[in-house]
């Protein structure tokens, strides 16, 4: 699946997007967050426990317990500040 990062998370991770193949036991967004943290110091910092960020699955905001089954694109981002 493709994982995308926005705003300050993109700077902290050091990537706008990446292709990942998480193992089968990564079933939810929360699982994916924990798994991604191990990829680099930047990932660990951006996705740290207690950091204020949200997620979307295939362009739709999703809670952290949302299942990843069939997901093509998962995005992580800070709270929205448009308008």
């Amino acid at each position: 699946m493709k994982v995308r990062y926005f705003a300050w998370m993109k700077r902290t991770v050091g990537l706008a997007e990446e292709q990942v193949e998480p193992p089968a036991d990564v079933r939810t967004i929360a699982d994916l967050v924990a798994w991604l943290r191990a990829r680099s110091a930047g990932h660990a910092e951006a996705l740290a426990e207690g950091a204020a960020f949200g997620a979307a699955i295939d362009h739709r905001t999703a809670p952290f317990d949302a299942p990843l089954a069939g997901a093509q694109e998962v995005a992580f981002f800070p709270p929205f500040t448009g308008g």
């Binding site: 705003a7 300050w8 979307a56 995005a75 800070p78 929205f80 500040t81 448009g82 308008g83």
Partner: protein, 159 residues
């Protein structure tokens, strides 16, 4: 119902003209225009003026989110027309950021729907502001008042 996400500026008069000419049942049209305001930020001993910002968004999700917010407004109020135009990219103080318009046969629905669209857009559409200051770049934090403003419409959700 129209949603546009674009880098270029928009002409408020021309946009409203197009909206009302296309539908003569509109009796009241309310409009919100969001602008980049000049701000002063104090951090420690430094005091910076913010002259510009860059708006980032999530192409694909942004349009979908705005269309859902617009559809929700049409579910809640008897609207004849709505329009959301949101810019992205680098914007200077005084530049227009967003145009929201709601047209209805009567003014109450138009006023309420316009406020609803702006409140939900701020908290549910994937945009992020990066401020340019003399000291460098700074990502804008979410404003607590925005979440409260968006939440006041949650209780009024349709049954």
């Amino acid at each position: 119902m129209t949603v546009r996400v674009q880098e270029e500026d928009f002409d408020v008069g021309a946009e409203l003209e197009r909206l009302t000419q296309a539908n003569k049942r509109i009796g009241g049209l309310t409009v919100f225009v969001g602008l980049v305001r000049e701000m002063h930020m104090r951090e420690g001993l430094h005091r910076d003026r913010i002259d510009a910002l860059t708006l980032e968004h999530y192409p694909g999700m942004t349009e979908k989110a705005l269309e859902e917010i617009e559809a929700e407004a049409h579910q809640r109020w008897p609207l004849e027309a709505t329009l959301i135009v949101h810019r992205y990219g680098r914007l200077a103080a005084g530049d227009r950021i967003v145009l929201v318009a709601a047209g209805s046969p009567h003014r109450e629905a138009a006023f309420e729907a316009c406020a609803f669209l702006v409140d939900w857009l701020k908290t549910k559409a994937p945009f992020w502001k990066l401020e340019d200051t003399a000291a460098g770049e700074k990502w804008v934090g979410a404003h607590e008042g925005d979440a409260e403003a968006a939440a006041r419409w949650e209780g009024k959700a349709k049954a």
